[in-house]
Symmetry: C2
Subunit: 174 residues, 2 copies
């Protein structure tokens, strides 16, 4: 099997989003054990002008769904940002993974030289070739927000480690 | 130009490491302006059992150099972890980028089905196929530590934003 843009993205993003869902399970267990309202965790930021945990999860979902949809040449669905509980955020992640599975891998593979235009904030637009968009925007940004969500929970004291971040990767350990 | 493992990794990792070097410049400027010893920033952790900034930079360098060397089928050089200043960490990043440029992209491209064995801590070993190793171990881990380093500095109050994290990506903005 040859390497391709879809192989370099869909499985890793799905594993990463599912791993974040598992990290959120540990956050829920931590909140229960410590008798802390889970909304405290969801509202935690690493600094005042960085997004809180809820928004980090929503943005990881958006970047994955919007980025991969653009590469597949389809209009991404809009997910309302209404989640207020860990269960709702886990459902958002599951919905994102389910959506990624509907995308046409062949269209993604054929997008390397296609010009991709995407919103950068409310007024600006970014323009990149498809392969650059995947390698230099979608993947770094998805991993950024997956890591930020994880780091917020580590900062709060949730007992998670690198293997929780990596998730169900196809690795044999001896 | 077709997509390949080297195209999916070397340019993005180099841009990410160079971006971290730029983030460290802003950390140095912050320390000077606030009359803070830079070693305070270098010793900051997001929680007591997470690595401090210096170690995050060293590990990002190691994962990039060791991961890509293994895919290229060569023995990675060992970099001693002796850095104690921002300038030394920037030199470590520059040395890592220079090393990545010496790797044979064709060997990396041909490694998709090769079995890769790599150390996991002091006693264990991980085993993955080359393409899985790139997509599910090297890239997520490199981005994890690049983001952790960035997040530590945001947490300290250094004025950096997402574009500092992404670095010199090939994007046109309108």
């Amino acid at each position: 099997m040859s390497f391709s843009m879809s192989k370099a993205s869909l499985p890793a993003i799905e594993i990463g989003l599912n791993a974040l869902s598992g990290v959120l399970d540990k956050a829920q267990a931590f909140a229960t054990a410590k008798k802390v309202d889970p909304s405290v965790l969801l509202g935690t930021r690493l600094c005042p002008d960085m997004f809180a945990l809820t928004r980090q999860v929503q943005i990881a979902s958006d970047l994955a769904k919007n980025g991969m949809a653009r590469l597949a040449g389809v209009e991404p669905p809009r997910f309302e940002d209404t989640e207020t509980t860990i269960d709702q955020l886990k459902a958002r992640l599951a919905k994102t993974v389910a959506y990624l599975k509907t995308l046409d891998a062949k269209k993604i593979d054929a997008s390397a030289d296609r010009d991709i235009t995407f919103p950068l904030g409310p007024t600006n637009k970014g323009h990149m070739k498809g392969d650059d968009f995947l390698n230099h925007f979608v993947l770094p940004n998805v991993y950024f927000h997956l890591t930020a969500a994880y780091a917020i929970l580590r900062h709060c004291g949730v007992e998670i480690g690198k293997s929780d971040f990596l998730g169900a990767i196809p690795m044999k350990r001896t």
